[in-house]
Symmetry: C2
Subunit: 151 residues, 2 copies
């Protein structure tokens, strides 16, 4: 398990995240995406229409460095924005979302062919986990191994 | 004017965008941000608490390549997600948001010191402009000069 229970609850309450990838010229690109936390692998799995033909899928084939963020504003104002940012290494997994994901009914994973699977390496959260209010950052090397803590 | 009227209306209806920058190691980072379209310069101006001390501000000082996305789901479902992605060159502008921006009352620009100002170089939109349904991409070199069109 790479994400805490509070982080997983935060993710599951949202339908959309935003995925940043590196384009062919080295500049970033960012898109809204559907996603699911894969608790078997501790990964974020991202699917979508024509995924295998998408620029983001091709981007991660050339450069696996990605960042993914989910946010909400429980109080409605900008000041109350909470977020969970996951930086990591992505793989482009061919096949249908159903084949590639253990839970074929996972929201956002029924469309298209191919998924992007993010292996988290650094997690930054802001007011997501009640045991770590404010900004909390930690590194991961492999599943569940915390290598640093603190904001 | 770098953005169409429809694109500007789409932006002004949203409070939050997500900004992707390149971190010190070359990997992307992405954060939710408040923003305003600056129609004097044709830029996206981004402010926030402690902006000048933030990682994103320092990132653009070292690498000005950024991507910014705003999205919505008017139909509530993932399939209906519309987005406007702006790729460009960012500058880190010191001073208060009020000093740096011609409209001190612009939402999201009253906080902190320093802003990130994005000069759009490529605009990708999906179902944002009724005159270009579906995906529409175009390049800009300097204010308002369209150098390519089509998706």
């Amino acid at each position: 398990m790479t994400l805490t229970d509070a982080e997983q609850r935060f993710l599951s309450a949202q339908q959309l995240g935003r995925l940043a990838t590196i384009g062919p010229g080295g500049a970033p690109q960012v898109k809204p995406v559907g996603f699911s936390y894969n608790d078997q692998f501790g990964t974020i799995d991202i699917a979508g229409y024509n995924m295998a033909q998408s620029a983001k899928y091709k981007n991660v084939q050339h450069n696996p460095a990605v960042a993914f963020v989910v946010d909400d504003r429980p109080d409605g104002g900008l000041e109350g924005t909470r977020f969970l940012e996951i930086r990591g290494v992505a793989e482009a997994v061919p096949g249908t979302g159903a084949d590639a994901h253990p839970d074929a009914d996972a929201p956002g994973l029924a469309m298209g062919t191919g998924i992007i699977r993010i292996h988290p390496r650094r997690v930054l959260s802001y007011n997501v986990d009640p045991t770590h209010s404010g900004l909390w950052a930690r590194g991961l090397v492999g599943p569940g191994h915390v290598v640093s803590e603190g904001a």
